[in-house]
Symmetry: C2
Subunit: 547 residues, 2 copies
Amino acid sequence: MNDHADNAYAFPLLIRHLWNAPLVRSPDQEIIYRDMNRFTYRELRQRVGRLANVLRSVGVGFGDTVAIMDWDSHRYLESFYAVPMMGATLQMVNIRLSPDQILYTLNHAAPGTLIVNSEFLGILDEIRDRLTSIKRFIWISDEGASMPEWPGFEGEYESLLAWESPNFAFHDFDENTRATTFYTTGTTGDPKGVFFSHRQLVLHTLATMAAFCSGADGQRIHRGDVYMPITPMFHVHAWGLPYVALQLGVKQVYPGRYMPEALLALIEKEGVTFSHCVPTLLQMLLTSPKSADVDLRGWKVVIGGSALPVGLARQACERGVDVFGGYGMSETCPVLSIAQLDPHLDLSDKEHELAWRCKAGAPIPLVELRTVDADMQDVPADGQTTGEVVVRSPWLTQGYTGNPAASEKLWEGAYLHTQDVGYFDNGYLKITDRIKDVIKSGGEWVSSLQIEDLLSQHPAVAEVAVIGVRDEKWGERPLAVVVPKAGQALAESDLKAHLLHFVEQGIISKYAVPAHILVASAIEKTSVGKLDKKALRARYAGAPPSS
Amino acid sequence: MNDHADNAYAFPLLIRHLWNAPLVRSPDQEIIYRDMNRFTYRELRQRVGRLANVLRSVGVGFGDTVAIMDWDSHRYLESFYAVPMMGATLQMVNIRLSPDQILYTLNHAAPGTLIVNSEFLGILDEIRDRLTSIKRFIWISDEGASMPEWPGFEGEYESLLAWESPNFAFHDFDENTRATTFYTTGTTGDPKGVFFSHRQLVLHTLATMAAFCSGADGQRIHRGDVYMPITPMFHVHAWGLPYVALQLGVKQVYPGRYMPEALLALIEKEGVTFSHCVPTLLQMLLTSPKSADVDLRGWKVVIGGSALPVGLARQACERGVDVFGGYGMSETCPVLSIAQLDPHLDLSDKEHELAWRCKAGAPIPLVELRTVDADMQDVPADGQTTGEVVVRSPWLTQGYTGNPAASEKLWEGAYLHTQDVGYFDNGYLKITDRIKDVIKSGGEWVSSLQIEDLLSQHPAVAEVAVIGVRDEKWGERPLAVVVPKAGQALAESDLKAHLLHFVEQGIISKYAVPAHILVASAIEKTSVGKLDKKALRARYAGAPPSS
């Protein structure tokens, strides 16, 4: 428009602009790596400049991809900024995948440079002859492990940074430039690449910050908090919360590899007050021998990746942990909704409160979250009618890299299909199942997540998975696999009685009680710590028929 | 990029998307107009659809401008949404301007339609023969005043809405489409038109919400608050906070014309907990006879438009009001910074705390706020060196409508020039003067705002303005005009003694004490309630020379 001044700055939504406010407001705030390093925000920003200079000097340019394999660290955080800020794309490698899957994702995203922690040398050795794109490596080692004398190793991270200037002229470019990429591991087929632009990450940062800060009384992050992620940084940008933490100017703690004792020690020493993780990890922390010595009161924890089970929520709340659910996935950057205890909810007793905490929650600003039928029509938001969860927001992957068929399926009807099934209750989404995990028994739907949740409330149950198994008579029947808590025993009859109690209360139907409840010492997990129902179904397909 | 699904929804940042989350999360929350109307969010959204249908039926199309003249109301709020959502531009008319200035802004913005409250019939009558663009009028009257039988009057607002369907298909369009426009009244020349796009308003909403929610302990808005603006909706979108309130799902109260008794009654009746206003209005509320009967504890108030004086802040804090400063202007949408009490600040005593509350504050997310010298180089952020405040953020007017010379001056050097002078202290901006109000006495700078602030702390001072007047000996000398509190008397010698006390403490220099302090019954204000220093300078140019 010709009313615009020629000189007016149009302000593209670039990751570099995330530094504008915090560098003025909180330059002396700390960023901590394990018990090893402490940097101020100002120093970390200088290290971002140094890292960009290192990367440029080894040949990284605009549009190139740089991969990283590291535990949660200041280095990872530096790559969150430096790589996109220079116009390159950061590939966050899921180091929990098998070496062959890691190889697949590296060759598929085609980075030219890999920043790699010495702890992954074994994996690297196994795949390096088959890497098709990587020409340069930057070596990381906390223990001073000497760099392998393989071709392409440019030097050790800290030494390279020390030689470079902190000044790097980060220029403006199109806000739709790809900033990050990583791979989702569905239960079928090869990993699929998702990707996010500067614009998407900046908008996700603003909306997520707005939502997480807005809690009336608890379930919120604020300028006085101390932040520590316990969702890995390779997993959907650690929920994008490191970017939010920067905006807030809070102390940030990066714990390296997740070991319960070390995490608890950091929570205690640094006074951590806000974290996020999967249910399994919270369970591990609460049951760790060291846990009893650590005062967890006031620690706020968002649970994602899998639904927060009521049993775990109760256990956490009893320790004074302000635990609540959130919802999102790799395809969604990730945050879509969070389960804050809004003033309009019925919080008349602890059980109601726990139920609200355990939902996927209410949509955050700009998110259009719907539950729809097969014709993409909204199902009633009546607290019980389930539909597929579809979504629009400004931060959803626009497809899967080089996979048009999967991309079109993801975006069928111009809404992103989550593959989750759920219902709305008072504006709060409750996920009842993954579409492919839905159990149909005698013509009626059974929610595997609900049965898991109820079984998890049994005092001797540590973990539980419910799957559908073929049944001659009913079509499908639920089957449960449970893991007892350490030192405890479980009887199938006792667990069934536990569930029948909920049948009597009208909470579930009789046909939702699994015909078989198996007791196991462990349950298979995927690389990101979710129950591997595909593996469970394969293993228990031949379970005995129900009576 | 060809990795994008054909069907992927790119999500333009449009005002209609601000409804996505709150309609799911808080459909039954209330929006209240005076003691006259109560609507739920769901109903208000339906009324937005009805208003769009009304406007379309009278001929408003994409790209047209619709003007409104009303006090703060649900109708104004409906126009905040309906007009931009249909692709038209909302002109918010400053009804405190003179009829000739109102005429100028209406003819300059060239709306085809005017929504007008019966209370402005007198103004309209005075200018209607000279209106060059307006063809249609929509009539508003709280008192049922009958519509004038002038050509172009289409009908009464409520009747028109009642006839129309709540369903209107709001389509997507370019997020850079102009959404709003209004006029700033500088102290020289004609009013200048600023304008904001959908993208800018959505980003302002997210960043402002993120910032205002983030306070560690107080100075924040949250999901449990009750919101009432006391900065007019015609004035820079009432700070954009109605859009934020929608995202939060809070109860919203629109008070009509600002009358202290009625405002206090609404605060009491509706339990208002969050507001924003200019210092003068807070002063009026605190000194209103009704004020003593209303419990103001826990009421959070952001002060903008003019700096928050320490005397007023103390008075408000003593009443339990959580008052704090914010900073912005018409050209900046408006919010740039807010003065929350961050945990890293020195809050060791009440005086320190008051000083932090009275600053312009720290930049909100994405805002690049600088204090620069004449060469656009940063001056030291040392808590004392002042520079011109220049800024970049994603929500700044890109120029003045049809005024290229002023537009280029505004954006000289690709930063928006605020015309304010200030310094940074611990990341917090303190405004010391408007550039044109700066006083240079004997070669030294005197901050008129600082002297005003110190004089306002005298127990008998209600209002104060400090200007520079020519002086043979010193070049310029400060001159103060003070208004005593009701029933109190002021002596010049007493006020000088009050200031000399601060000279002794080293807070100001001796030459900053005005040679003359005049006592007046009132001080001229501009149409938006700011001290009219231009008028004061004209009046007191011939003040007696200093000794």
